[in-house]
């Protein structure tokens, strides 16, 4: 595929598979082995099931606020799968699928949403940054990582995510402009899931597409069907190849939909119609991919059932590992602010411990 063929001003959207799982663009269809296809499918299942589990744990009062990714699995898994292990991912906060593909352990993910900082302590070889809550700030980190790659003459690339709402912040602008000027090998994926909490995409900006914002930075921008895992993979792969060739950044607008609530504190019926949600359910990225796999005879009912059990077990056993066992120790609050704890923190820690030992307390 060529980015030039998908001028966002003409509202051309890059697609490979239609919503019935039929390949409509055979030229660009990637050459995956069956194992690869099943791995992608399994990761989608893992992501979806994880979301559902966390939502139900949350409802049971066993987990805290949670931001589900349901409906956005193809966007994330397709794009992240185009990376090499040595590449970086700089997430926003709703990138479960990407985390799973790029090696973030389930346990980290649970710990994070369980309310423990250790969730963001990625394994040494996992080049994924922690969740970034302040919207679109992380894009600048992604540009900086890319700039450093250029300076160090390293060949790995950076994949970063933001939402449709995330395109409105000044930090988005500065990140993309720097990336353009310094030819950072950074791929910016906008997960356009149509809403920023209650604010619909159309009220977020007057530009017809989000991809066309790339024009402001002199970089390629493309709209991709974000519920089409093949299209997301191919577009990201092409962007990564460009980046590795020294051609700089790319902006990808993935058109997708958040099928669930913004977070567990949100009630989407306040701001969107059921009919809209139902319509998007017919474009469910997992369903679509599954149909494709079934039609090709790659996925059997038995395998599917088996996998569903397997991922469910993986999830429940990981949650068991942490539930009730992941309270923060008072020391941990103080230890990680600086390489060496300064006297004032030592003193405050000691005072607090003395207080606890003085028994005057029932905080805990």
């Amino acid at each position: 595929m060529k980015f030039e063929d998908y001028n966002p001003l003409e509202e051309k959207v890059f697609k490979i598979m239609d919503k019935k799982g039929k390949i409509i663009n055979t030229d660009d269809m990637p050459n995956f082995t069956n194992d690869q296809l099943l791995y992608l499918y399994r990761t989608m299942l893992l992501s979806r099931t994880m979301d559902e589990k966390q939502l139900s744990y949350q409802r049971q009062g066993r987990m805290l606020t949670y931001a589900p990714n349901i409906g956005q699995e193809a966007t994330q898994i397709g794009s992240a799968y185009a990376l090499e292990k040595e590449d970086w991912i700089v997430p926003s906060f709703r990138e479960l699928g990407a985390w799973l593909i790029h090696g973030v352990p389930l346990k980290n993910i649970f710990l994070y949403w369980y309310g423990n900082e250790w969730g963001s302590h990625m394994p040494e070889d996992v080049k994924v940054l922690p969740v970034s809550v302040p919207i679109s700030t992380q894009l600048q980190h992604a540009t900086g990582i890319g700039m450093a790659n250029n300076i160090k003459k390293e060949n790995n690339v950076v994949l970063t995510y933001t939402g449709d709402g995330g395109t409105s912040g000044g930090e988005f602008h500065e990140a993309l402009n720097f990336a353009g000027v310094f030819k950072a090998p950074t791929i910016f994926v906008i997960q356009n899931n149509q809403y920023a909490i209650s604010v619909p995409r159309i009220e977020q900006t007057a530009s017809k597409t989000l991809a066309q914002k790339a024009i402001a930075y002199g970089i390629p921008g493309i709209q991709v069907d974000g519920n089409d895992i093949f299209a997301m993979y191919v577009a990201t792969k092409e962007a990564a190849d460009r980046a590795r060739r020294g051609e700089g950044p790319t902006l990808i607008e993935a058109i997708t939909y958040r099928l669930a609530a913004h977070t567990t504190s949100d009630d989407p019926t306040k701001y969107r119609e059921d009919a809209e949600v139902e319509e998007w359910k017919t474009r469910d990225p997992i369903l679509r991919f599954k149909t494709y796999l079934e039609n090709k005879g790659i996925l059997t009912k038995e395998w599917d059932e088996k996998m569903k059990k397997e991922v469910e077990n993986e999830i429940t056993s990981t949650f068991e590992e942490i539930e009730g066992k992941a309270d923060t120790k008072i020391e941990e609050i103080f230890m990680y602010h600086y390489e060496t704890m300064p006297p004032i923190l030592e003193e405050q820690l000691k005072e607090y411990k003395d207080f606890l030992e003085g028994g005057k307390n029932n905080d805990k």
Partner: protein, 326 residues
């Protein structure tokens, strides 16, 4: 008819009150319009006053505040919402470089009757950046007023006054007590003075200064120490800056002792300023070291560690006793 309401409802009532009285009052921010705010503080406004006077914006705090500056200059009275204090920082440049400066810069030619509302403070088991208390940072900015209510009654009266105030005000709402309790308050119009602290409870033995959600915890602690026959005077600051130094100083002259209770980090804080004030104005009256009981000089922990952070009534009570027994 009774009007027993919680703090979010009080904020909402104040907004409705002012929007009814003055059609220059315009309320906007992220999710403020259709949804009525993520905490529901702006609920019904769009229905009542239309999309022109209460609306959603794109996700961009700098422009929320920056456009409010323009609106205020052009004759309106914007009341904007920043979703959480932890997301006020994209607007920091507009606040420190323009909001606080326009009147002085133009020698009074351009003034900014505007309010920036933001829920603040910890204790709700939230994600990172949702538990901030950085009022000290804003209090250090000349030309900006910082106001914090601690009850539904105060929230309504202070917000009404803030909207009517000719100067820009940062209005911080302690989200931990948004729904913690209800109060019977006047359904109608009333003002509370900006720049004045309130003596919540008179006492002799020690002055306790606090604000926001901590005031309730202080009151609980005061009940505890009453059993030991200790009677603190409790001051709710209400306005952080410019501060009502007189009320504090007068109290300390009477009690000789002072404890400041805050959930913000201890160092370089509002509490430090209060210690400094009593040193300047009541040095010879001090019978024990002015003391801060505060959050740690650390980032506010994620939920599994948050129970340590905010001073508990028990710690407050213990600290009161220490000071009184000094």
């Amino acid at each position: 008819m009774t009007n027993k309401i919680n703090m979010v409802q009080a904020v909402n009532q104040a907004l409705i009150n002012e929007m009814e009285l003055d059609d220059r009052v315009i309320v906007y921010g992220e999710d403020v319009g259709l949804e009525g705010g993520v905490f529901r503080a702006t609920v019904d406004l769009q229905q009542k006053f239309g999309k022109e006077r209460s609306f959603d914006t794109p996700l961009a705090e700098s422009a929320i505040v920056g456009t409010a500056i323009g609106m205020a200059i052009n004759g309106l009275k914007p009341v904007v919402e920043l979703q959480f204090m932890g997301f006020s920082y994209p607007a920091f440049n507009q606040i420190i470089s323009h909001v606080s400066r326009m009147r002085n810069r133009s020698r009074g030619r351009f003034t900014l009757p505007m309010v920036i509302r933001a829920p603040y403070g910890g204790g709700i088991r939230a994600l990172e950046h949702h538990s901030e208390s950085t009022e000290a940072i804003y209090a250090h900015i000349p030309g900006l007023k910082v106001v914090i209510p601690s009850t539904p009654y105060d929230a309504k009266g202070l917000l009404i006054s803030a909207i009517r105030d000719p100067d820009p005000i940062l209005f911080l709402e302690p989200k931990r007590i948004y729904r913690a309790f209800k109060q019977e308050i006047p359904a109608g119009d009333y003002e509370l003075p900006i720049g004045k602290a309130k003596i919540v409870q008179e006492g002799e033995d020690i002055t306790i200064v606090s604000w926001g959600a901590m005031v309730r915890d202080v009151q609980k602690a005061v009940e505890m120490v009453a059993k030991e026959n200790i009677y603190p005077e409790v001051i709710d600051l209400r306005t952080i800056s410019p501060m009502d130094r007189e009320t504090i100083v007068e109290s300390v002259k009477k009690t000789g002792r002072i404890l400041i209770v805050q959930e913000a980090p201890k160092s370089f804080s509002v509490g430090s300023e209060i210690v400094s004030i009593v040193n300047e104005k009541a040095f010879l009256y001090l019978e024990a070291p002015p003391t801060k009981l505060a959050g740690f000089d650390t980032i506010f922990p994620l939920p599994r560690g948050e129970q340590y952070y905010i001073p508990s009534p028990e710690r407050i009570a213990a600290t009161i006793q220490e000071i009184v027994n000094y």
